[in-house]
Subunit: 324 residues, 2 copies
DNA sequence: CTGAAAGCGCTTACAG
DNA sequence: CTGAAAGCGCTTACAG
């Protein structure tokens, strides 16, 4: 069986209380005792049981992360940064892939509550569910406005949409088409769309937005778009995977990029940048978002509910490649 | 404060023992009592504390996953599948990004032990460390042989290397160059290399293997390769990211693919396939690997240490695109 | 069918 | 500087 604190105490010739004190560096302990305890711990390969410790302290140092899917480059990188920063701060991460399904999100949330996580970071399109279950559980939402009581951290989607559209206009595009996800989902991408449409109107151009179903095979939709918009000379895709599909469709049709058609994407993940270095895109500061989200969450964990910033939007950056 | 089992008991007018029995569906409880208990739990929004339960049962249903980096498409997808399957089987996943650093792996492993995980799935290049700390902790390695006592699950790397090389030869390539990671790392990619070299020799061709440092900026190395190997008419890259770098370098130099040069990668992740659908590659069965790894791990968790398969190699598949 | 008691492995007032 | 006792929130023999 695994050794426990009593085993250590017996070997060191002290009480379990003393061992605990050594473990926690708490109160006065003579150097000699300390050493004996350390030696005993090493001798029997003792590691404290964090379950027991957490049970007593009512603090687990566990954070739950709910994302749609760690396969997606954006979420994969988000998970990486969040986990790394958590570890740096002494927290551990329970990973949950919700596939954007409400039923899964609910189950995960209940699981996290049962496991006494100190807080939750969530990327979810389903409003309300977090609020409902919450009951004092600190939550921070990433990039999605969830409810009045939940802080959001994201990037400046309106600015991103504006930059993308203006870049295309500045390069002389007249007929710019925007591709976005379904409008019903209250995603942050809606702000990108809004910015696109505002800027287009400002410039006396008619906005044309195509909606593609979520995580569908984009090719089919993109192909239809090409058929229906033969005059398009610029495409602003609301994420890089859609932009990649556009690039592929253009290649298939022998459309010269960027001469006949300019394409800009959104997200600018490391993975996509390394696979498609030519793609012009709007880069989100994933690491910064992660940092901010954790910072706010840990404030809430420490009971500091008062001055939590309700909404934090970090700046985006244009990465200009050869597709524009 | 959070309600506990005593609060539920008081409201339902029964003992904590009975509440626990209802919770665990254990022993005989009258329907009436059951109902009263359920109602009480709902009334005060009670969720059992899994910490306490785990402490008693000496079973957490927690699995640790150590991967280099969830940003990488291969590991991101691996994490997704492993987490999904774990959830399906009632397990939860603690995510650890080791960046392939031995010191981090060691710290993570200790953290996992302290948190009483039931088992660990690890992708690591650093042999030995797991073995050292292990002390009865069930571990399964993915794609990397770690030690005699740790089962490995992976794909058939030799077959993959063979298929890749034969495909290029079959298409008429005479001068095939292979790009791989550093040989010192005992990665499974070494088997891909071995297969490449064996097949080349069999066909009376001279194998030429380039080693690129891990996670470096590949472009520079690839560029040198192009300079040094002007006659190369086929390149077999040991992963898709390297293959993508080759594609980009070829584009930069105006080299016609596949006519002047044919390129095949390795991994075949969803992400890379969706971004570079034209890339020919050897696809690893990530979901199947995940399933097998968990299956074996859970066997070990259940104390079934006897007939654990030492090595499991799942079949790979050629995905033929337009780069060959 | 139900309850009181002991214990999982810790930590922390309290006392000395 | 150190220890005995109580308790974190559960579960499970044991007894009735």
């Amino acid at each position: 069986m695994k050794p426990n604190i009593h085993d250590v105490a017996k070997i060191a010739g002290v009480s379990p209380t003393t061992v605990s004190r050594v473990l926690n560096n708490r109160g006065y302990i003579s150097e000699k005792t300390k050493e004996r305890v350390y030696k005993a711990m090493e001798e029997i390969n003792y590691f404290p049981n964090d379950l027991a410790r957490s049970l007593f302290r009512k603090r687990t140092n566990l954070i739950g992360l709910i994302i749609p899917n760690s396969s997606n480059p954006f979420f994969g990188e988000l998970a990486f940064h969040i986990e790394s920063i958590c570890t740096l701060k002494g927290y551990k991460l329970l990973l949950c892939n919700s596939l954007n399904r409400k039923d899964k999100e609910e189950k995960y949330l209940e699981m996290l509550i049962r496991n006494q996580v100190d807080g939750v970071i969530a990327v979810t399109f389903n409003r309300g569910i977090l609020d409902y279950h919450k009951q004092n559980l600190p939550i921070v939402a990433i990039d999605h406005y969830l409810s009045n009581h939940i802080p959001v951290v994201g990037s400046d989607n309106y600015a991103g949409g504006k930059k993308a559209t203006e870049l295309l206009l500045g390069k002389g595009c007249k007929h710019i088409v925007h591709i976005n996800g379904p409008l019903e989902l209250e995603t942050p991408a809606n702000l990108r769309r809004k910015a696109y449409e505002d800027v287009m109107k400002e410039h006396g151009r008619k906005p044309v937005t195509y909606e593609v179903p979520f995580h569908q095979n984009y090719q089919e939709y993109i192909s239809r778009l090409f058929d229906e918009q033969p005059n398009a000379d610029g495409i602003f895709a609301s994420d890089d995977l859609i932009a990649a599909a556009v690039l592929n469709q253009a290649k298939k049709r022998g459309i010269d990029i960027p001469n006949r058609l300019k394409v800009i994407g959104y997200d600018g993940t490391e993975t996509v940048q390394s696979l498609l270095p030519d793609l012009t895109t709007i880069q989100q500061p994933i690491e910064l978002i992660s940092k901010k989200a954790i910072e706010i969450l840990l404030k809430a964990v420490d009971g500091d509910f008062n001055d939590l910033p309700r909404e934090t939007y970090l700046p985006v950056q244009v990465l200009e490649g050869k597709t524009t």
